[in-house]
Symmetry: C2
Subunit: 152 residues, 2 copies
Amino acid sequence: MNDDSMTSDEVFEAISHPMRIEILRLLARKPVRFADLKRKLRIESSGQLDFHLKKMTGIVVTDSDGNYTLNDRGYAALTAVDMVSRHGWQRRAYIIAFLTYAVMNVYFILMVPLGWWFVIFLITTAWILFYSYWTFIKRRIRLRRNGEISNE
Amino acid sequence: MNDDSMTSDEVFEAISHPMRIEILRLLARKPVRFADLKRKLRIESSGQLDFHLKKMTGIVVTDSDGNYTLNDRGYAALTAVDMVSRHGWQRRAYIIAFLTYAVMNVYFILMVPLGWWFVIFLITTAWILFYSYWTFIKRRIRLRRNGEISNE
DNA sequence: TCTTAAGGTCAATAATCATTGACTTGTTGG
DNA sequence: CCAACAAGTCAATGATTATTGACCTTAAGA
């Protein structure tokens, strides 16, 4: 297979199985040899590992010592996996940030003289506005999910 | 299917087919209805579209008007697709940037008095160092690829 | 020399995926 | 009322994917 002729869907095909994602994560840490991979994945079948490694041709290469490792497209795939995995946390992080903003300002309204409170209010509001823009416009995160397709 | 219980490999399964990636890109632009989707994909079979839309349950939802659209995980998948698609360009962009840096400095060495040239050299070198760090360490781009697995 | 391990390949089978085409159930315009 | 279209569902089929287990070759250690 020509390395440059790979399309996006082929990359995602290469990581659309739990074991292949585990392999991707293992190889991202450090290059690993065949038998080591088998042990770390807790499988006995060589054929199974062979099958999944062949599916990952185009993302996985062998170095001069015979260790399996990721090529640059493999690292791109890894960051794609991380992005999808962490996506739920971006929503949670925003909620926590907003609550912090709210609690902080209520506290300062009650405790701090007007002049100082107003400075804090300006700074934290500018911050939460920028963070909101980044979250909802740039990254297109939504706080509430839409309804699912009804097919059950 | 519970929306929150989706694993990464299921997301990638949902986009590991050319038609499903095309659907993802179409729905990212604006919500589309079933028959419109069929026309834009230039297919006649309703069953085929039904099959692929069902595979995308968990990233695709229907809004109140019956239009198909992406949920937040769908947009995460889209950015993953974009990242993988654009990956080749990150390498090219770096090469162009480096050549610009080199040509610019050669030009200024020849044309500009020493004092000014040194300022420009400092600024552009700081820039190329930061860009190199970002490219090779943070994003793990490689200029030359490693050898492929030999299995042909 | 015999055994064990590494580093795989291959064939058979079961399970899943993808496509086709027939079918259903509304809705809308003439 | 009828035709045409929207918005699907479903069964059948062939193609592909995933797993298992047998097999092979090479190298090291007892």
